[in-house]
């Protein structure tokens, strides 16, 4: 068991999301950086989709009530378990130890969310096939809400079960980098209403940086830049949307739907951040700027395959290491 010591809200239990529930009007939820969650789980020998704690506000502290192997991935948050713990690293905690996650560090890459993965995964009831917290519907995760001080979470490994620890990974931000003019970039598929925007607006969308405003969270990222102008007034009926969809409200400042997005919306859609790059946006800090790269279906599918290959290679190397250690 771990106990949450921090009063700061907004940390939630997440897995890879409640995929397939949009047809019932239930949003996807899940980790804003699914690659960090999956890699952290692989480091611990868990299923890739085991539930973990997503932490967006720091400092964040937990106490281990029992011995437990854990891994902290995502943003480099200068983790400390009495001694400093390296980022993207698996570590063995002893009962009573306190893990402190500090402010995200700069260095070679600045992320905004850390993932605390635990051996066996966080044990909460799966709802509609997922352990992710569905904040809007107040179900899933831990009591359908963000974690509070004093909450305790169980994980799926009995006391005393040993997991090989003390090794780590080169983060995908470095292994699968994507930048334009030094800014994190995401590939975008033009969407249904793309051609209804002026040529100048479309050009600006691809060639100018977009700043992530303070009105950005797990529901959506509100961006600010040169306002996007439609050729004529657009009125639409509500229709289904998915995480990644870039809506343009009347003011012309786009909103990128994120993991807690509602399943329908009525604003025109300029484009969709491809699934393979959504983690890059999910890790971009508030106040930072990002760039968008025009892509097409084939490239989007290829990007997803590249991500899959990276995870497969990580699993292969970690399993070799685990086998080597147990064979010694």
């Amino acid at each position: 068991m771990i106990e949450i010591l921090s009063a700061s809200a907004l940390a939630t239990v997440q897995d890879l999301g409640r995929v397939g529930a949009l047809r019932w009007g239930v949003g996807t939820s899940g980790a804003m950086d699914p690659l960090a969650l999956a890699a952290g789980n692989i480091l611990l020998g868990n299923d890739e989709g085991a539930a973990a704690v997503e932490v967006p506000v720091f400092p964040f502290r937990v106490r281990f009530a029992q011995d437990c192997a854990f891994a902290v991935t995502g943003a480099d948050v200068a983790a400390k378990l009495d001694e400093p713990v390296l980022p993207w690293w698996s570590t063995q905690a002893r009962a009573g130890q306190v893990l402190n996650l500090g402010l995200p560090q700069g260095g070679a890459w600045r992320g905004s969310r850390a993932y605390l993965c635990l051996a066996g995964g966080v044990e909460v009831q799966a709802v509609l096939g997922s352990r992710s917290t569905q904040l809007r519907g107040a179900f899933g995760g831990h009591e359908g809400r963000a974690l509070r001080q004093g909450d305790t979470l169980r994980f799926g490994v009995s006391d005393g079960e040993q997991r090989s620890t003390d090794f780590g990974l080169v983060p995908p931000a470095l292994a699968l980098p994507l930048q334009v003019d030094g800014l994190p970039a995401m590939r975008v598929l033009p969407a249904a209403e793309y051609t209804l925007y002026s040529e100048a607006s479309r050009a600006a969308f691809w060639s100018e940086p977009w700043k992530i405003t303070a009105q950005s969270d797990r529901y959506g990222y509100r961006l600010v830049g040169t306002p996007l102008e439609a050729v004529s007034a657009l009125e639409m009926r509500s229709h289904g949307i998915v995480p990644g969809v870039i809506q343009v409200p009347p003011g012309g400042q786009p909103i990128v739907q994120m993991r807690d997005a509602q399943p329908s919306g009525g604003y025109p859609k300029l484009g969709t951040v491809i699934e393979a790059d959504l983690w890059r946006l999910g890790q971009a800090p508030i106040g930072s700027r990002v760039r968008f790269i025009e892509t097409n279906w084939d490239e989007a599918v290829a990007a997803l395959a590249q991500t899959r290959r990276w995870l497969d290679e990580v699993r292969r190397l970690v399993e070799l290491q685990r086998g080597y250690r147990s064979g010694r």
Binding site: Q105, G107, F167, G168, L169, V170, L174, W310, L317
Partner: protein
Amino acid sequence: MTTSNSDRVRQLSDWLRDTDIARLELRGPGESICLQREGGRIVVAPDEPAPEMDATSVAATAASVGVFLHRHPLRDSAIAETGTTVRSGQVVGLLQIGALLLPVTSPCDGVVAAMLLEHGATAGYGTRLVELHPSSTTS
């Protein structure tokens, strides 16, 4: 080298002959073999003496082949700068194998004296990576 190894040396030599490998070093606890190419033949080369080290020093060595890193890929500063006091088992560097990072740990309580390999250089199994002064002899 013991005679029980001679069959293995012959086997390794046969394999090496069909490759473009110029030199093969195998090191294990208490023994090592070095084979090298001379024209069309593979011969046993004399052991190279271990690099001279201060008698009061010990070294953290590579437990695997990999790329030696002084600092974590996300960080600007070294994991253990020269002069840092470390405990036995503490991480003083990293070995990168593809996406994987393995710890290079101090074999003793002591002080980091020198990095013996450049950041980003390839290390072989057993390569001495970090020189340390054990605290029992430095205090």
